[in-house]
């Protein structure tokens, strides 16, 4: 019942933080100041921008296909929002704990491209249509390496349930139903014989559990940048070269919704990256002998402490990833569309395919 408002609140909160951080970080990276005037250090700038956007006229072009045009932002935002339904926020709180969560997530987020096409076609503007085609081509292409990288995690974890994958990566492993006998070995290799089930921390994160997956993480991260239209893959928007992409005809609140969807997508892909590769809501600190760092920073399962710690770790890891996204955006120049496709089809996809293969072999070594 209250999962939707909670998720919305989370999205808005994180968007506010990252919106402000993006401006400040980008300014500092380029020796500028960023927002200064509205509120202390420009902290109220987002509120000012929001007010500005809200009081703008809602323009629908006369020749546009009104239904498509009006509902496109809704479809885009709803498909991204629906992706959050299966994200486990804490060990106890997952809006919808379905066993095929990851599958659902990939499927529903792809609906995004329908919204993009609706926006581009509905605008009845050739630039918007071209922009939409570019976006769709990019997103559809990059879903393949991203999907393959995710597949390698699924092979290792033997599950599509995001909550299950989360439990696999921490000290609570044996509390998950049906996992009472499960054991985490260092690097996932039973031969090594080093049992890290109760050490937890970073040692049980997927990227360490199966070091190979750090490559998967990189592939997924690059592909996810392209999926949420972030630089250096932001040719659909390319604000400094084109008028804009598929959303060139949008104004006011509809435009704000599109942007909110972009930022929500950033958060979503970061959360998925954290859950699949970076230990989900588990602490990064391992237990070391009497220094029970992992236990101290994980709390008790089912109690307030457990939930708060889990939420804290999950959101903070996602924020770190989002800062990396910002960092990349303000460092790298935008790629040309052919370079984009080259990277996707000739580098990332083959690498991801090889990764899936090795992951399958690794999985055999784990049992």
């Amino acid at each position: 019942m209250w999962a939707l408002p909670l998720v919305l609140l989370l999205i808005l909160g994180v968007v506010v933080i990252i919106f402000y951080a993006e401006r400040k970080l980008s300014a500092f990276m380029q020796d500028r100041l960023g927002p200064m005037e509205a509120g202390p250090y420009g902290t109220l700038q987002f509120a000012a921008d929001l007010l500005k956007l809200l009081q703008k006229e809602d323009i629908v072009p006369a020749a546009a296909d009104k239904m498509l045009f009006k509902y496109a932002p809704l479809v885009i935002f709803a498909s991204v929002l629906a992706g959050f339904a299966v994200i486990p926020l804490t060990p106890d709180l997952v809006p919808s704990g379905t066993p095929i969560g990851l599958f659902f997530l990939l499927a529903i987020v792809s609906l995004d491209v329908i919204g993009l096409l609706m926006a581009g076609w509905g605008s009845n503007n050739k630039y918007a249509l071209l922009g939409a085609m570019r976006s769709v081509a990019q997103i559809v292409s990059y879903e393949i390496p991203a999907g393959l990288a995710i597949l390698s995690v699924v092979i290792i974890g033997q599950s599509l349930d995001l909550q299950e994958i989360s439990f696999q990566q921490g000290v609570h492993l044996q509390q998950f139903p049906g996992y009472a006998q499960e054991v985490n070995y260092l690097f996932g290799l039973k031969e090594l014989g080093i049992d890290v089930t109760h050490v937890g921390g970073i040692l049980s994160w997927n990227i360490v559990r199966v070091p190979l997956l750090s490559l998967g993480f990189i592939i997924y991260f690059i592909a996810s940048l392209a999926e949420c239209n972030r630089a250096p893959f932001d040719i659909p928007e390319a604000e400094s070269e084109l008028v804009a992409g598929f959303h060139v005809e949008y104004s006011g609140f509809r435009f704000a919704t599109l942007f909110l969807a972009e930022y929500a997508m950033m958060l979503l892909v970061s959360l998925v990256a954290v859950i699949l590769f970076l230990g989900s809501w588990n602490t990064p600190f391992p237990n070391m002998g009497p220094v029970r760092l992992a236990d101290w920073t994980t709390g008790t399962l089912g109690a307030w402490s457990g939930n708060l710690w889990a939420f804290f770790w999950l959101v903070n890891k996602a924020l770190v990833l989002m800062v990396v996204q910002v960092w990349l955006r303000w460092t790298f120049p935008r790629m040309r569309v052919d370079q984009l496709m080259h990277l996707c089809w000739k580098i990332l996809t083959p690498a991801a395919l090889v990764l899936v293969l090795i992951a399958a072999v690794w999985r055999l070594l784990m049992i």
């Binding site: 970080l25 300014a27 500092f28 990276m29 380029q30 020796d31 100041l33 960092w327 460092t331 790298f332």
Partner: protein
């Protein structure tokens, strides 16, 4: 000796690791700048020995609150010292964009001296410079014979209403201008009357 051709070749060489290295360097660069943002450059005069030493940190000045000091001989806004102007119209003639408007009224007598000793015989009921049109070429200041038209170092003179960019330099009120015109006209009339009378007197003398 290294062959320069070879060197260029090695710079142009492409490769996965090289690309990765340069991407990494780029990230390092922005990351460094991120932390250097703790420093800010201060608004120093160009003559300051430290002017070129501030090569790290934020360079943006928060302009209305701070600004770079300009040189004493900065040439930005026109100013006319009307007391020294002899209303010779040279500046209006040379101005390439015709932004100086001068009207003149002859004085009945010498009305003073400029600071360099030139006699003044003209009033200027209108002396307007439209600084919105001015291209700051400085030609007018060069031709001015009395050096009364100069450029000052004030550079911040934006206006909300563009009409306020027209600077009025005249020191006469419209009434005073009218009065001077009338004085000149009266004098001319008086001269004309006197001339006519003198003519008449001469003709009468001839007739006798």
């Amino acid at each position: 000796m290294e062959n320069p051709q070879e060197k260029i070749g090695s710079l142009q060489r492409r490769g996965f690791w090289r690309d990765l290295q340069s991407l990494w360097q780029g990230l390092g660069l922005t990351w460094r700048h991120l932390f250097q943002a703790r420093e800010r450059r201060s608004p120093l005069h160009i003559a300051d020995p430290n002017y070129f030493q501030q090569d790290t940190g934020v360079v943006t000045l928060t302009y209305p609150y701070e600004s770079l000091p300009v040189p004493e001989n900065g040439r930005y806004r026109l100013h006319n010292e009307i007391d020294d102007c002899i209303v010779c119209d040279l500046c209006a003639k040379i101005c390439p964009v015709d932004c100086i408007t001068i009207e003149s009224v002859k004085a009945t007598e010498e009305i003073g001296e400029t600071s360099d000793g030139t006699k003044k015989r003209l009033y200027a009921p209108v002396f307007d410079i439209d600084l919105a049109k001015c291209c700051y070429c400085g030609l007018c200041t060069t031709v001015c014979p009395t050096d009364c038209l100069t450029m000052t170092k004030v550079y911040d003179f934006a206006e909300v209403d563009i009409k306020n960019m027209i600077y009025h330099f005249t020191d006469l009120t419209p009434e005073q201008a009218e009065e001077k015109k009338k004085l000149w006209a009266d004098q001319q009339e008086a001269i004309a009357v006197a001339k006519a009378e003198a003519m008449k007197a001469r003709q009468q003398q001839k007739g006798e």
